[in-house]
């Protein structure tokens, strides 16, 4: 018994899955709350139409929150936005998560109506609570892991209980949802809910999709589909927890949520949070093992078949940046070359000169192409998973002009970023402090 308990909750496993999930929880929270900030007089200011969830909050708490002047609401909007961005980026992940969750509670108590009186918001808060109980979600895909400069951050071992509870949460949410549909006040056995949904008028919750009219005319098919959905929802917890059927369960779940999004006006959580939560069923040891395999593969390749980043190893700022890039390099595709250790840079590439490598970083790709400065940085966006979210910015129209200017300014002034005066004069490696 003790062994099973240990295996279920206490055993340490890599937290990379939780770290990945953190991004989607943040996106789900943002998608739910941020749109309401564009219409503050209609959503959260004194002038808004408000309703309160007295079952979720005690009355005293609602009354206390209602005393907020509009100025405080505005301040908390900014507190939320900053903490949300920090949580998304994984910067002081746990603290920013607590602050963000505090703001979520505040706005929920301030006006339930503005949050669409939604059960989805309740579910999101439950998920968020588990995500901020520990600092584990900040272990990777985060600024926190870059600050620690731990190249093995993706393998960081943590007790598995948070991920297990999140797995159990989604599994049982499916199960109870199905249970309510067939018992309690549910009518999915005794009636034909899908048929009703499809025949609702335009003002209803059902979207217009390709097969809507076809299905709406076939009540028997609708009933069969309804029963199928209930059976699948009940079976999901077994499909997900039995290793042999796990992958099928994940596929079913993802398809189910995509279908929900396409056919019904359901809140963003069904898109942002549930499908990625299903991915938590993938054993993180397998993910880390797959990453290790890739790293070993790239490690064995000869230099000429890898991406090589040529940098200034005597510049503290550059070394720090390279250390961070090494953390971001999940699959180990980069090799870092300090140009001070290279006698003739032209041996690396005919176009490389000492003057060039001193002025900016250069990236040599396996095809022998050379990218320098901003363009090297932009190319890294295609190679390093943690930089991929920045691709829309790096490739935004006009960045080919603005990017190099900004890069050149940073490159020219990189010694400014040194903490010590000696280093600012670029003397770190010559003085006794070296």
């Amino acid at each position: 018994m003790r062994k099973i308990w240990h295996q279920l909750f206490l055993m340490e496993r890599p937290s990379i899955g939780l770290a990945f999930f953190r991004i989607f929880v943040a996106l789900g929270v943002g998608a739910h709350l941020i749109p309401a900030f564009f219409h503050l007089p209609d959503t959260f200011f004194v002038t808004a139409f408000k309703t309160y969830n007295t079952q979720f909050f005690p009355i005293w708490f609602i009354e206390w929150v209602q005393q907020s002047p509009d100025g405080l609401v505005l301040v908390l909007v900014w507190v939320f936005l900053i903490s949300w961005m920090m949580f998304l980026l994984g910067w002081f992940t746990q603290i920013s998560g607590w602050v963000m969750m505090g703001c979520c509670y505040y706005f929920y108590a301030l006006n339930t109506f503005a949050l669409a009186e939604s059960l989805a918001w309740d579910i999101l808060l439950v998920t968020l609570f588990l995500m901020i109980c520990t600092p584990y979600p900040g272990d990777y895909f985060s600024i926190d892991c870059l600050r620690r400069q731990d190249q093995m951050a993706y393998r960081r071992q943590r007790p598995f209980f948070i991920q297990r509870l999140l797995q159990m949460q989604i599994g049982f949410v499916y199960f109870y949802t199905a249970l309510y549909k067939v018992t309690a006040e549910g009518n999915w056995i005794t009636d034909n809910p899908i048929y009703y949904l499809l025949n609702y008028p335009h003002e209803g919750v059902t979207k217009y999709f390709m097969l809507r009219d076809f299905m709406a005319a076939r009540p028997e098919w609708c009933y069969a589909l309804g029963i199928f959905i209930v059976v699948m929802e009940m079976a999901m917890i077994f499909l997900l927890f039995i290793p042999r059927t796990r992958v099928s369960g994940i596929y079913w779940g993802v398809i189910f949520h995509i279908m929900l999004m396409l056919t019904l006006d359901v809140p963003a959580i069904f898109f942002f949070v549930f499908p990625p939560q299903l991915l938590l069923f993938i054993n993180p040891e397998h993910i880390a093992g797959w990453i290790d395999q890739k790293r070993h593969f790239y490690e064995r390749l000869p230099d000429s078949m890898t991406y090589r980043l040529v940098y200034d190893g005597r510049c503290h700022f550059c070394r720090q940046s390279v250390a961070r890039l090494a953390v971001m390099d999940l699959l180990g595709r980069l090799r870092f070359i300090d140009y001070h250790g290279v006698q003739d840079p032209q041996a690396l590439h005919p176009l490389l000169t000492t003057q060039k490598v001193r002025s900016q970083i250069h990236l040599l790709d396996p095809q022998g192409r050379l990218n320098g400065g901003f363009f090297a940085f932009r190319r890294l966006g295609l190679i390093l998973p943690m930089m991929m979210p920045w691709l829309p910015v790096l490739y935004f129209p006009g960045m080919g002009v603005v990017g190099p200017v900004v890069y050149q300014w940073v490159a020219k002034n990189r010694y400014i970023w040194h903490r010590h005066q000696v280093c600012r004069d670029n003397m770190c490696f010559y003085g006794k402090g070296s």
């Binding site: 308990w5 909750f9 206490l10 998608a31 749109p35 309401a36 219409h39 209609d42 002038t47 808004a48 139409f49 408000k50 309703t51 969830n53 079952q55 979720f56 909050f57 005690p58 708490f61 109506f113 669409a116 009186e117 059960l119 309740d122 579910i123 439950v126 007790p159 209980f161 297990r164 509870l165 049982f172 949410v173 109870y176 949802t177 309510y180 549909k181 018992t183 309690a184 006040e185 549910g186 009518n187 999915w188 009636d191 809910p193 048929y195 009703y196 949904l197 025949n199 609702y200 008028p201 003002e203 209803g204 919750v205 979207k207 999004m261 006006d265 359901v266 809140p267 963003a268 898109f271």
Partner: protein, 168 residues
Amino acid sequence: MFSHKKILRSIPDMVWGHLRKAGITIFVILWCGLFHYVSLRHFYLEPLMGRPLPQPKFLFPPAGWIMFFHVGNGFSHLEILGMHQGRSYRIEPHAILPTRYLGFDNVHRGVLGSAADPQHQRPFCRYLRRKFPEYDDFLITAVSYPPVREPLTDRRWAVLYQCRVFDP
């Protein structure tokens, strides 16, 4: 003199390990207990016990995970009419609820239905007056569609309330 960090460091790792495991175990048991209690409370435990049971505040949906658990035959929604010089004009619901969400439409989710609740009528009228000052008055009407299989054109309108009654 020992600082608290030194004291903490002096506790053997094994003791820390046991404390951490005990902490996690207690948390998991409490969480699971609460999760299933909340999931079963409203529809199963309360009828079983024949009395209302306490609802934990601040976490978990109060009625459980009730997504689309009961879908009725027939449909109704609110329509808001603005009155000006004795004539009524339908107000587009998206103008009343201007917030646009990614991937879904709250008006279609029927959130405007909250305005039908007697305790929300006065604040809703106040909100409408501020938002649409060009109207003299507002009529809050319920539009009911007939049960499925009957023509959708057989809609029935009913005035729920008129904002003028709340005027000082």
